[in-house]
């Protein structure tokens, strides 16, 4: 579909980039991205993808906005406290850009619903805050052949990798099994500097846009690590792991499943 005059103006700074152009912008407008988690990472991802004119943004989160979220979850405002995060996020996305169609999933993603949901999208962003979800998203995306961006943060450090199923290193290639429950602290236990998800989430949004445009080099096969205290980025090349239980030579994981023993107290409260 041709761009309208107003779209040409709105996306003019994209359109003058040779890597985007009018065609690239039309691609973005025809694209569908699912963001799982409307918290610290999900906030910048949703805001930037909305501004960029991603035609359909799905956003999944069962949680409501809490006062303690507002130090970093910049898509939610003080008057949103108590509101479902997906509703709060949808309002901001639509206020930024009425071109975007928003689909809300006011539920926790689990093994029973994830395959159906991710099937509707071109790219998935893992913006979740727990290992049960992170492993489930990785497994489902690999099994469904769905490219996705992984992001993780804690205190002052974050890491992200883009996963192209069957082509590049997956999360389980690096971490074959989840850590035992409570072995690794969460942000609510250990804290997180508010701007950190802004940095990592913005990188995840960049990867989504590059993937959709088919431009540049994706962060695939490389784990990017960021340390805000040292203000250093470092990326480590990581080959696919032939012993990966999911995408290795002899996979033992052949369907999406919930890591029930991993659900934290915080999840169970919901």
């Amino acid at each position: 579909m041709a761009l309208t005059d107003s779209q040409i103006e709105r996306y003019s700074r994209h359109i003058i980039l040779k890597e985007v152009g009018g065609k690239g912008q039309q691609k973005l407008l025809a694209s569908r991205v699912l963001i799982i988690g409307a918290g610290g990472l999900g906030a910048p991802v949703a805001l930037y993808l909305a501004a960029a004119g991603i035609g359909t943004i799905g956003i999944a989160d069962a949680d409501n906005v809490d006062l303690s979220n507002l130090q970093r979850q910049v898509i939610h405002f003080t008057p949103d406290i108590g509101k479902p995060k997906v509703d709060s996020a949808r309002e901001k996305i639509q206020a930024i850009n009425p071109d975007v169609q928003v689909r809300c999933y006011h539920e926790w993603i689990n093994a029973a619903n994830i395959m159906g949901i991710i099937g509707e999208y071109d790219f998935v962003v893992d913006a979740t805050d727990n290992f049960a979800a992170k492993f489930l998203i990785n497994d489902a995306c690999i099994l469904a052949g769905k490219p996705y961006s992984h992001g993780g943060i804690l205190q002052f450090v974050g890491q992200t990798i883009t996963v192209l199923p069957g082509e590049s290193t997956c999360y389980r290639c690096i971490f074959p099994t989840p850590p035992p429950k409570d072995a690794i602290p969460t942000c609510s236990q250990a804290g997180v500097i508010g701007v950190l998800p802004g940095v990592i989430g913005s990188i995840q949004a960049t990867e989504a846009i590059k993937f959709l445009l088919g431009k540049g080099e994706l962060l695939a096969g490389r784990l990017l690590m960021y340390d805000a205290l040292k203000m250093k980025f470092r990326d480590v090349a990581i080959n696919r792991n032939p012993n990966c239980p999911l995408c290795g030579e002899h996979p033992t994981i052949t369907e999406a499943r919930d890591e029930l023993d991993l659900l934290t107290v915080c999840d169970l409260e919901q």
Binding site: D129, G152, T186
Partner: protein, 70 residues
């Protein structure tokens, strides 16, 4: 013996019997039970930590779980 650990050249006393397990202790690597070890570009199986010897020139990365996002 010089190896590269997390991108940094690291000098270690000569020791031909140094395994990945003993390196974890020697460098006081945090979360030794959960750290992923990448040796020269390949992820090393945890059950190989005690049998894999560290050699001069090795490039080793310690990779950590990071579960936050909220």
């Amino acid at each position: 013996m010089t190896i590269t650990v997390n991108g940094k050249k690291t000098d270690l006393p000569e020791n031909s019997g140094r395994t990945i397990d003993s390196l974890l202790a020697e460098l006081d690597v945090s979360q030794p039970l959960y750290v992923t070890v990448e040796l020269n570009g390949e992820i090393l199986e945890r059950n190989a930590f005690d049998a894999t010897l560290v050699a001069t020139g090795d490039t080793i990365e310690f990779l950590y779980f990071m579960g936050g996002g909220c």
